[in-house]
Every structure is written in C-alpha cells, then in structure tokens.
C-alpha cells in the first residue's frame, strides 16, 4: 500500500518510455518488503516520501527542496551536495536527502561485481536511488542523511577502492568518450588521458581552490560524443595531421550498394541509392574531394577533418596516423553573461602517456593565470573575454596563429604596448611645437 496518494505522478507511468515513477514505486515496495533483511541506515520509507514530496511539487508547480546545506566529508570541499526538504514534518523520510558524487571509471565501463557492491552500499546507507550518470559524468548516489556520509566515504575508499567526484569551485570530475576501447575514430586513448589527469589532479578535484568550477572533457575525434567543445573549460579533441587513408575497393563497395552508407545509420527510411557525389563529394565543406567514377581522391592539405566522409564510409576511409589532439578552452553554459563555446588554443598537441606533460603544461599555465586573476565565480572563458585572447596566449606562451580566429578583427582598436612602438610613448611637447605652431 502506497504511503502517499500520487494521482499526478501516476499519469507518468503510461507511455512507452521507462517510467521513473514506476521505478521509484518499485524501489519503495522493495524497501517495504525488504526480502534481504537489510538493516537500512536511513528511513525505510525514503522512496515513499520522495514520491510524496514530488507529488506536492507537481501540484504546487514549485520545488520543495531547501537552498544549500553545507555538508561533506572531512578534508574534502566537494563531492557531497547537501539537500533538505522544506516540508520535513510531512516527509520525514527525505528530511535530509544529500547527494554524493562517485567518480565514475573513465568511459563508464563496469562489471556487475563492482556495480553490485555500489548497489549494496546504497541499499544499506542510502535511498536506493541513483543517477546513472550525472551530467558531468559521476555516478550519483541520490539521497542520504548526514551521519551516513563519512560511513559511505569509508566504505568507498576502504572496500570499493573508489573516490568521490568534484563539486563546487574545483576541478569537476573529468569525463571522456569510450575512445580506442571500441571506436575506430579515436585519435588517442581518451580513457587513459582522462584517468591519468583525474589522478594527477586529485587535490584540485577535492579541495576547492579555484575561482569557480573547471571541467576537463576528452573527445576522441571531432564528432565530439562527450560534447567537450560546448561543455568543458578545457576541451581535448582528437585529430590527425597526415592523410585520411583510403581503401578504394571499399569505396566501390559503398558506390555499388554492397555496404550501407553511414554504417547503416539511415536504414529506417528509403533514401534511395547511395550517391557518392551528392552525399560525400558535394557535401564536403572544404570541397577537397573528387570522384572520377573509379577513384576517390582527397586533397588532404585542404581537409579540415570534419569527419563527414569518414562517418559516411567507415569501411573505406580511416583517420590518419600522425595523431594527437586539439585543445579548445572556455566553454560554459549561459550563467551569467551568455553561453560560450570553447575557443581554439592549441591546434595540435601530442597526447603522450604515461605523463601527458604537454597537456599538463597548458593546463597549469591556464590555472596559474586564472587563480591569480579570476574573480569569484568567473569561469576561465569569461576571464579570456575580460582580459583578452592575447593574454591567454601570453600566459601559455603560445604564438598567435591565424587558426586562432574565424576572421581577423574588423576594427583597428589594437591595444599596442609601449614596447611595440618605436621610440616609446614619452615625447617632449616642446620638440613637437618646434615643428607645429599652437
């Protein structure tokens, strides 16, 4: 028997898409029945009360979670988000409903053994509800009480060999695509880079010392499956410098209909016979490809590696062998002065395990600048706008390059420095007046 009537939420049980309401109800019933005799460390009816407070929000059109609440584990400044219900008397099971961010393994591969340990822990000390995964990448434990936080952290670090993720003004949990593990487009090992830098910067991840949040994301190629260019302060996108490799026989395979274009991604509709000229050659944004009916040619020097031809004919075209990454900096969501896309800083950088010294040098130069000059709650993308792209080049020691801009400036208001101008700026007005009367 449900603890609270939920006539509004019940209407979200119909329809084909998996219903979170059905799932929370399932968990509420499971906790009531408790077939495994778990000694629940937080209220047994936590899921019932979550449904109750959520139903109230559906009726009121407003949230019923209080603002903030500083809780955490000793010595860390992030990883736990305090949350309290604003109607604790009505819903005591969710009076405290804190979240923990658990740092996911890079690429989000798991074994059922490890996930089972996490599930057992969360049954025992939490609500039994999770996010798989949160937007930044963490596995999120959703809803526990303050006395459980240290206990959960103890079990995570001692028994599960895993750590919390980031929150607040620190390095947020880095994330990556699955990269070389299962993708032929990956230009570097995104998982290893992500894992290595996550471990390298544990102090920055757990102890807030930055002006605001800072996110790393690692995309293996310009398709950008983890959206690093839009969602990370430091976006590393795999690329290559040499030629796209062509298997001419496989190209013919696509042309004569033997292979489905775009790996079969369009099979749900009849788009007609594959037309290499219409679908690849003419669509190429740099017009660097040609097809003479027999041979596909690419003027690789003119290619900017958009991936369209490779995506369209993955059996025939392969990424080049001189691989590395492009670094773009400063993406953020709209708060406050509008959204920003990441801007190109390093056109090509080698991504070399095990130390990733090249990446670390760029990261640490950026951090030194931002920690010195950034205002409270100023993202690095905003600092670049406030102090200028040139300042970022200066602090990173990177030379200006036409690739840095989509176009040169359309105004002549150049902030010349005194040392740039012959003779400096100090002049004698009397010398000037010897030639020019008042």
């Amino acid at each position: 028997m449900a603890k609270h009537e939920t006539p509004l939420l019940d209407q979200l049980e119909s329809g084909p898409w998996p219903s979170f309401v059905s799932d929370i109800k399932q968990e509420a019933e499971h906790r009531q029945a408790n077939p495994d005799n778990v000694e629940f460390q937080i209220p047994q009816d936590v899921c019932d009360d979550l449904l109750g407070v959520l139903e109230m929000s559906y009726r009121d059109g407003e949230t019923h979670w209080k603002h903030g609440g500083i809780v955490g584990v000793f010595g860390y400044g992030g990883g736990v988000i305090g949350r309290y219900c604003d109607q604790p008397e009505m819903f005591p099971g969710v009076a405290h409903f804190h979240t923990l961010r658990v740092n996911q393994p890079s690429g989000k591969y798991y074994t059922t053994e490890f996930l089972g340990q996490l599930a057992d822990l969360w049954d025992f000390r939490g609500s039994g509800l999770l996010n798989l995964h949160g937007a930044t990448g963490d596995l999120v434990f959703l809803g526990t009480t303050t006395p459980q936080l240290e206990e959960i952290f103890w079990t995570l670090t001692h028994d599960l060999d895993t750590d919390l993720g980031g929150s607040g003004s620190n390095l947020r949990t880095p994330a990556c695509c699955l990269g070389e593990s299962r993708c032929e487009y990956a230009c570097y090992d995104t998982q290893l880079a992500c894992h290595t830098l996550t471990n390298e910067y544990q102090d920055e991840l757990h102890r807030p010392a930055f002006p605001y949040k800072f996110k790393f994301k690692f995309d293996g190629c310009p398709n950008g499956c983890v959206a690093s260019i839009a969602r990370s302060d430091f976006s590393v996108i795999g690329t290559w410098k040499d030629d796209i490799k062509i298997d001419q026989d496989a190209v013919k395979g696509y042309v004569n209909g033997e292979f489905a274009p775009n790996a079969g991604a369009h099979s749900g509709r009849d788009w007609g016979k594959f037309d290499i000229v219409e679908e690849v050659i003419d669509r190429c944004p740099t017009k660097c490809m040609s097809w003479d009916g027999n041979t596909l040619s690419i003027d690789n020097a003119e290619c900017y590696r958009c991936m369209h031809c490779i995506n369209t004919m993955p059996r025939a075209l392969k990424i080049g062998d001189e691989r590395g990454a492009t670094i773009l900096v400063g993406a953020k969501a709209p708060i406050l002065d509008g959204a920003q896309m990441a801007s190109l800083l390093v056109p090509f950088i080698e991504v070399n395990p095990p130390d990733y010294d090249e990446l670390k040098e760029v990261i640490e130069n950026l951090w030194d600048w931002w920690m010195e000059e950034g205002k409270n709650r100023e993202r690095i993308g905003e600092l670049i706008r406030r102090q200028g792209f040139q300042k970022m080049l200066e602090v990173t020691g990177i030379k200006a390059d036409a690739r840095h801009v989509s176009a040169p400036r359309a105004n002549p208001y150049i902030f010349w420095k005194e040392e740039d101008v012959e003779g400096g700026w100090t002049r004698d007005i009397n010398v000037f007046r010897e030639k020019h009367q008042r």
Binding site: H206, G224, A230
Partner: protein
C-alpha cells in the same frame, strides 16, 4: 534501525583515513573482446536499431545492444540490468554519456536474442524497462538535470518533462528514420548543470518573476555584498527596510532590469524566484556539438514560454512534435536541425514548424544581440 559503523571513528577522523585515490582504473572493466582489440578497431555498422557491430583488425566482432533508461534509476532496476549482463555478457556493461546502457556480446544471434529479451520487459505501469534503440539517425536518450526530484533552483521538473518528450518521440528512438541524429537535452534552470545550449532541441526551465525578498531573514542568511554582486544586470542594491517597526538591512530589486537568471538566489537563499504561474519552459533549437559538416553551434530560442503543465506537459509534447515532424519532412539526408534551419532560413523554419515568431525571440541582451539582427536584403517572403 541501529546505526552500524563502517569503521569511521568520528573522534579520530584521520585514523585509517584513505583519500585522493581517484576512480577505479577503467581497463579492469573491459569485456575480454574489448581488452583484446582496443585501438585495433576497423569499422562499425548499425545492424538494426540499437544494435552496433564493431569489427576488429583481428577479425573479432563485438555486438553492442544499446537501451535507454531514465537516468534516475533504482538499485532494484540496476540489479535487473546486472542479472541480464551476467546472463548474456559475462557480467560486463557500460553506460553512455547520454544515459543509455550498453551490453556487449560476441555474436549476432545472442545480440538479437538479448534485444528481444530487453524489449520484452515492462514495468507494472506498462512502460518499457529497457527499450532498445538510440542509434544512428534518430533520437537517442534525453540528457537532463534533477528538477523537482532533488534541486533547489528548478523552474520545472526534469524527469517528468523528459518522460513526456520521449513518450512523444519514442518512434524515433526505436527507428532510424530521421535525416540525421537529433539530440534533445533538458535543463531545469538556467544554471544548466546539464548544459543544453548546443542541442538540436533544448528544453529549458525558466523563471519569469523577479525574486521575492525575505527581508526579515536576508541579512542573517546572506552576505549582502555578494547578493548585490551576483546580479549581472546591476538590478540589486543594498537597502534598509522597516517591518513592524523594526529596521532590517536588506536589498532592493529593480524589477524592470531583472532577466530572471536566478543567480541572486544561488548566492542568497532569501531571494527565491520559484512561482507556479511565473515558471515554465523555453524551447531552443538548432544547436549541435559535432564538427561534422558544419561548425558546432548554439541552440536558438524558438519558443519564449510554455507554461508548466504537470504531469504530462501537453503543450511541450505538441511543440516538440511540431519541430521534429517539420524537420523530418523537409531536411536533407545528413542535415542536422540547425543546418536545415539555416539553409531554408529561420523565417521558413517558423513557417514550416507552425511556431509563432514573437518579439521575445529577437535578442536584446548585450552586444552579441546586434550580430543576430539582419543586416542584409537577403530574406525570403
């Protein structure tokens, strides 16, 4: 419910403490076929919706069955997924960036059997537990934020609006019948903890009423200078106010300058914005993050406001349907929604989708606004 300690001693918090160990290393979770062929993949093929085959140089094949799920998931649901992974794939599984789950097997027959098994499981309420799909030129899972389930700043619910949206477009999740992938994302307030600003379609919770000022408590709850500094529009100033004969230090808000971002509330709990009538949804469209063909681009506001209509948000569902249907009917193969809108022109976008253009959709926020006005005679009647 007796308290059981895991070993932590609150009197000696540093005793036996382990910190800064980071996540578990990823490669211990690779299925054997992945561990063997990493970095040696030759090509891939989507053999049917939700089923990918990756071919390795070694000749090995891995078949991935992808299914969607609500990102809010219970351990009971997770344990059912784990039991399936144990039965079919040796106890290995992974999650995607967009909250899908992937199970990997090494032969096609098992993959198809697995797909049928997954599609056969339903919740008591009737919805699919593990719908297979989310591949290729279709609509994959909708990434989203916490909403009314767990957050203090939302202008709407996230899980509910996403459920309604995915119910509406479910046929495009299980079928690859669109011109290109169409990514929908949802953020329940402007903080966008799930950054949605570069999505083909973005659903964004938004406030429309300035903060209410809790004068009697504000000075105790907040640092007034921080609350003042939080406003990007300079609409907040320190003030003193008298209530029942007692003077309080507080703030005043110039309401006509407010753009309802909620940053003041983030800095000061005594400035709540949430309001049943004021809050609702903004729909943005035409963004992308891939570099394929065209550059990554921001989503544009195409509907200024849709009221909150829980539990099923019918106007939201109808609006999404209008956009998706117009795009599906008119775009060229490989053309993302934003590329389509730019090719036909935004004036045609509104015509074809049947959405109404209003003055709210003309940018008036700071300098970049000017660059979105039309400085040419190139337009269509």
């Amino acid at each position: 419910m007796a308290f059981i300690s895991a070993g932590y001693n609150p009197d000696k918090p540093m005793e036996g403490r382990i910190t800064d160990i980071g996540p578990k290393k990823f490669d211990q979770f690779y299925p054997p076929v992945i561990a063997k062929n990493k970095g040696q993949w030759e090509y891939h093929e989507i053999i049917e919706p939700g089923v990918l085959m990756h071919k390795a140089k070694s000749g090995d094949e891995v078949y991935t069955v992808r299914f969607g799920g609500a990102r809010l998931m219970s351990v009971t649901h997770l344990r059912e997924i784990m039991a399936i992974a144990d039965e079919y794939c040796g106890g290995y599984l992974r999650f995607t960036t967009r909250n899908n789950v992937e199970l990997m097997v090494t032969d096609k027959d098992t993959a198809l059997k697995l797909k049928a098994d997954l599609n056969g499981r339903k919740f008591a309420g009737g919805s699919y537990k593990f719908p297979v799909g989310g591949t290729g030129a279709g609509i994959t899972n909708v990434v989203h934020t916490q909403g009314w389930v767990h957050c203090h700043t939302p202008a709407t619910d996230a899980s509910g609006t996403v459920k309604v949206t995915l119910d509406e477009v479910f046929g495009h999740f299980t079928n690859m019948d669109l011109p290109a992938p169409l990514r929908i994302s949802m953020a329940c307030c402007l903080n966008m903890c799930g950054a949605v600003h570069c999505s083909d379609i973005a659903i964004l919770g938004y406030h429309r009423k300035p903060p209410i000022i809790d004068h009697e408590y504000l000075d105790n709850m907040c640092e007034i200078p921080l609350a003042v500094a939080a406003c990007p529009m300079g609409a907040i100033r320190p003030t003193k106010t008298e209530i029942n004969g007692k003077e309080y230090k507080s703030v005043a808000v110039k309401n006509e300058r407010c753009m309802f971002c909620g940053n003041c509330y983030t800095m000061c709990p005594s400035l709540p914005l949430a309001d049943k009538e004021g809050d609702g949804l903004v729909i943005m469209a035409g963004g992308k993050i891939s570099n394929r063909l065209s550059e990554p681009k921001f989503s544009k506001v195409v509907v200024a406001f849709i009221p909150n209509e829980p539990p099923r948000w019918p106007t939201l569902a109808k609006t999404i349907r209008q956009i998706v249907d117009a795009y599906a009917a008119d775009a060229k193969k490989y053309e993302r929604l934003g590329d389509w809108a730019e090719r036909i022109g935004w004036e045609r976008f509104f015509e074809k989708t049947g959405l109404e253009f209003s003055e709210h959709l003309i940018d008036d926020f700071r300098d970049p606004a000017y660059y979105t006005w039309r400085q040419t005679t190139h337009f269509k009647f």
